[in-house]
């Protein structure tokens, strides 16, 4: 049973000729205690999906449900009820915490939003101390200000705050992209521990496929606002079907083996003027550029179709290509 679900999610910025459809017709479902990875390069719309799910941007079309209840309207996603369940951790640890508030005040404020037993100040203080321990920070952190902490520590504070509100669904938007490799490992390990202990559900967004592979149970691949592939993690990485996914995997440098030549040439198209038909056809190694007879790609946008079991691909000519 999915906790948080979206069907046909569409988000548009601006209006008229200058409109940018950042996300179009995206389906996703988060299961309790599991992680759904969302991966793609810049301009693919993954951050917009995150912002839409937490109510920061309005949804133009589609449905969002939490535990089955419809939450598509802005008001619903901005309601206290929704926010107590769904929280977000932002990418940049240096700008996501108010420089004028101490860590203690920050956590206290989030706990206040939770209401109930947390109306008592003493209860909140106890919980703040508990949360700090949970994310691995010393108790004297409560009186200190964000600028006194390192990037990794600030991300842990941000995670602590999300938990303070009481959320069990966390939207993690590129939370380790701004961190060094060794610090990244700390934060990722923390997230996995927390998930195990508290049965949290994650939407893990990243441009880094290798990290997504480690953290996620299922993966969605996005390109220029649309989902192009959806599969269980193991499946995606061993039998990627969509040419973009294949190219993405080939582009990642590995610690073993020789470098392969870059699979994609050219730049991604302007999101404001996406190509007609399949959006990937301008760079697709198996599309009309390489095989002119495949004119279907120019005319019709491919829908997500099931390949085998859970694996879904949006491509007219997808073939499972074993790695």
């Amino acid at each position: 049973m999915s906790i948080l679900e979206a069907r046909g999610l569409t988000v548009r910025y601006g209006a008229g000729a200058r409109a940018l459809t950042a996300v179009e017709d995206v389906d996703l479902a988060l299961q309790r205690g599991r992680t759904l990875g969302l991966v793609g390069e810049s301009g693919c719309g993954k951050s917009t999906v995150a912002r839409a799910l937490v109510g920061l941007v309005p949804i133009v079309a589609g449905r969002v449900t939490l535990d089955g209840a419809d939450c598509t309207s802005q008001a619903a996603r901005n309601s206290a009820r929704y926010r107590r369940r769904v929280q977000m951790v932002f990418q940049d640890p240096f700008s996501s915490l108010n420089p004028r508030m101490s860590v203690g005040t920050l956590l206290d404020e989030a706990l206040q939003a939770r209401g109930g037993e947390f109306r008592s100040r003493r209860r909140r203080m106890a919980e703040s101390a508990h949360l700090l321990e949970l994310v691995g920070l010393p108790s004297d952190a409560l009186s200190r200000y964000p600028h006194q902490f390192s990037g990794g520590q600030r991300q842990r504070i941000a995670i602590g705050r999300a938990l303070a509100v009481g959320a069990d669904v966390l939207i993690l938007d590129e939370v380790t992209s701004a961190l060094d490799v060794s610090v990244q490992a700390t934060v990722l390990n923390l997230l996995q521990d927390l998930q195990r202990h508290l049965s949290l559900s994650y939407l893990f967004i990243s441009h880094d496929l290798s990290v997504v592979r480690l953290m996620s149970d299922e993966v969605l691949v996005m390109y220029l606002g649309r989902v192009v592939e959806h599969a269980d993690t193991e499946d995606l990485f061993t039998r990627p079907c969509h040419p973009y996914t294949v190219a993405l995997l080939k582009s990642i440098p590995s610690l073993r083996g020789r470098r392969e030549p870059a699979p994609l040439s050219g730049d991604p198209p302007d999101p404001r003027h996406p190509p007609a038909g399949c959006r990937f056809h301008t760079r697709c190694p198996v599309g009309p550029l390489a095989r002119p007879e495949r004119t279907r790609c120019l005319e019709l946008h491919p829908r997500l179709a099931p390949e085998a079991g859970h694996h879904q691909v949006a491509c007219h000519f997808a073939e499972a290509s074993p790695r």
């Binding site: 926010r83 932002f90 915490l97 060794s182 441009h207 440098p253 590995s254």
Partner: protein
């Protein structure tokens, strides 16, 4: 209190605040204590020069000038405060509304505000005073001064509010569910307060000056009231007889203006928590960390005629030693990677080699390019040498190109300067290089500006620019960090091709271990300003010896590693460059640390396995 402590640190600020308080005291007390004296005529001492009885002399009616100036303080400062307060009363709501209105409608009020700011405030004031006439008296004057100032206030408020509203921490707070009242009170206002307080008190300073100016012109305060401006105007009339009559008022106006201008900034600055908690970095005996032992070990990693030879490089900035004794070499046509996390000193090393460090950085050690010692070359030949044999590719292609110049200009200027090519020849060369790096329509690109190109295109152009003079060494500092992974692959292809076809050696700086492993034949691992390991990249995974290298390898989420295996985090943090502990810099975080590691710095030595490594435990087989 932290606030007062912060205040004490800046003596000029303290002075400004003291003067301000003094002025306020005078404003309150002087009319009470000296009001009578200020109006006492003395016909025996008309326009008298300064004397003991009258420290600043007297005016045309024999009245004591100093007394009059002190009494006038209340009106002058009072009007300044009143006018600025009115300005903010009008301007803050206008600015707030402008910020709240959606982006579609906002340009309208913004244009109106900008136009009003560009219009002479004095004309607006005169216009308003003419209309409001003598009926409204001082309040009318205050309103006349306040209206143009209100637009300035509105602009500050709206720009500031918009900038803060766009910050992540505001969005994060909204997601947490913080209500609007609290968002404004705890998020918006505290982050705006510093600027607003400063701008308010600077504004008071302007208003005092402006009001005095109106009175000086005769259209401000009317007799029998008097303020500094009127006293100045009277004083100027008798400038020849007693200059003090004019200099006195001038000095009062100037001092009050300066005091308000600085005091506000000081108060605002002291209220910033960043300032409360900024502690001076701790020093360990005031000496920089231990450096490489004086006897030089052979630095060469191989070739007898290296393209680049770096020997015992040290870079110091202030008390921090960012690079501590780095030695390595790069052979002709070799592609070598320099890997490290933030703070390892890898970028500083590259900048030091390229002689691009900011002034204030102290460099020691030898750098030789193509066998010639850079430190020994005189400036002009050095510039020519480096301009033709060395090229630097920077990390951020957007900020590394000058936004005000065309691509053509920037690509050709190096060749025109150092190889004395004329415009045509240089342009042809640029087109050739751009084609080589797969930039479409190169001729058109020459005419375009950097912001018109995409990120990947800009980075290619940067590489093309580096190739213009056919350098023997290309230093690339994180060339793909700002790019998507599919574009990154294209750029790495390009670098490999350049390395192959031009025979140019490449020094690739990166934090991405896998990237370096795939593209470079050799890897140098840096930690805390030192090279800790130097080995062939194909042996990285199998034969790396240094515990840091191994920890780093274990922390990288590689695609081939099994999914269930957790990432190995390295506990702790790299040492502060100002206060490195003695011994091996990695020992506080090293699983193998022994007593010797805590006391003695391990030198970078050749290991029988074929690499160089700086670790006391490397000999011990237990490393694996």
């Amino acid at each position: 209190m932290a606030f007062l402590r912060a205040l004490r640190t800046a003596p000029s600020a303290m002075l400004a605040i003291a003067v301000l308080l003094l002025l306020l005291v005078i404003a309150v007390l002087a009319p009470v204590l000296l009001g009578h004296t200020a109006n006492q005529f003395d016909f025996r001492a008309i326009s008298a020069p300064p004397s003991l009885a009258h420290p600043l002399g007297t005016d045309r009616l024999g009245r004591d000038l100093l007394a009059r100036l002190l009494v006038a303080t209340r009106l002058s400062i009072g009007m300044g405060l009143l006018a600025e307060a009115l300005a903010y009363l009008i301007g803050v709501p206008v600015g707030a509304l402008t910020a709240l209105v959606g982006p579609r409608w906002r340009p309208i009020p913004m244009r109106v505000i900008d136009t009003m700011i560009a219009f002479p405030g004095l004309l607006v004031t005169i216009y308003l005073i003419t209309i409001l006439g003598p009926r409204l008296g001082l309040v009318g004057l205050a309103v006349g001064l306040a209206v143009p100032e209100a637009f300035r206030a509105a602009r500050i408020v709206s720009t500031l509010a918009l900038s803060i509203a766009g910050r992540d921490y505001l969005a994060a707070a909204r997601v947490v569910g913080v209500g609007w009242p609290r968002l404004v009170l705890r998020y918006l206002i505290p982050n705006m307060a510093e600027t607003m307080v400063t701008s308010f008190s600077v504004g008071v300073s302007f208003m005092i000056v402006a009001f005095s100016g109106l009175s000086f012109l005769g259209i401000g305060v009317q007799p029998p009231n008097f303020d500094w401006g009127r006293l100045l105007s009277e004083g100027v009339d008798s400038f020849y007889e007693t200059p003090a009559a004019a200099l006195g008022p001038a000095a009062f106006i100037a001092v009050a203006a300066l005091a308000f201008a600085y005091a506000g900034e000081a108060v605002a600055h002291a209220a910033n928590p960043r300032v409360w908690t900024a502690a001076p970095p701790e020093r360990a005996n005031g000496r920089p960390g231990p450096s490489e032992p004086p006897h030089r070990l052979p630095a060469r990693g191989g070739a007898p005629d290296p393209t680049l030879l770096v020997e015992d490089l040290h870079v110091r900035i202030g008390d921090a030693e960012i690079v501590s004794g780095v030695s390595f070499s790069i052979g002709p046509g070799e592609m070598v990677g320099l890997v490290g996390e933030s703070g390892s000193g890898k970028t500083m090393t590259a900048l030091a080699i390229a002689r691009l460090l900011p002034a204030g950085a102290a460099v020691e050690g030898e750098v030789s390019l193509l066998g010639r010692r850079l430190a020994a070359m005189p400036p002009k030949p050095l510039a020519r040498f480096l301009g033709t044999e060395l090229a630097f590719v920077f990390q951020d292609p957007m900020s590394s190109f000058n936004p005000a110049l065309t691509m053509g200009r920037q690509l050709t200027e190096g060749a025109r300067r150092h190889r004395h090519l004329d415009l045509r020849a240089a342009a042809e060369a640029a087109v050739a290089r751009l084609s080589e790096v797969n930039v479409p329509a190169p001729r058109r690109i020459l005419r375009q500006y950097p912001h018109e190109l995409s990120g990947g295109m800009r980075q290619r152009a940067m590489i093309a620019m580096g190739l213009m003079n056919s350098p023997k060494l290309l230093i690339c500092d994180e060339p793909t960090t700002a790019l998507d992974v599919t574009i990154q692959a294209q750029i790495m292809d390009l670098l490999a091709r350049v390395n192959r076809e031009h025979g140019a050696a490449v020094l690739l700086i990166s934090h991405n271990l896998a990237l370096v492993r795939q593209s470079c034949s050799r890897v140098l691992v840096m930690y805390a300003g030192r090279i800790v390991e130097d080995l062939a990249s194909e042996r990285l995974l199998s034969d790396a010896l240094h515990p840091y290298t191994r920890s780093l390898l274990a922390a990288v989420p590689d695609l081939e590693r099994p999914r269930g295996a957790p990432l190995t985090a390295i506990p702790g943090q790299p040492p502060d460059p100002i206060a490195r502990p003695p011994g091996c810099p990695f020992h506080p975080r090293c699983p193998l640390a022994q007593d010797r590691c805590r006391r003695e710095l391990p030198p970078l030595v050749a290991h029988p396995g074929g690499q160089r490594v700086a670790c006391w435990m490397a000999e011990v087989e237990a490393v694996r």
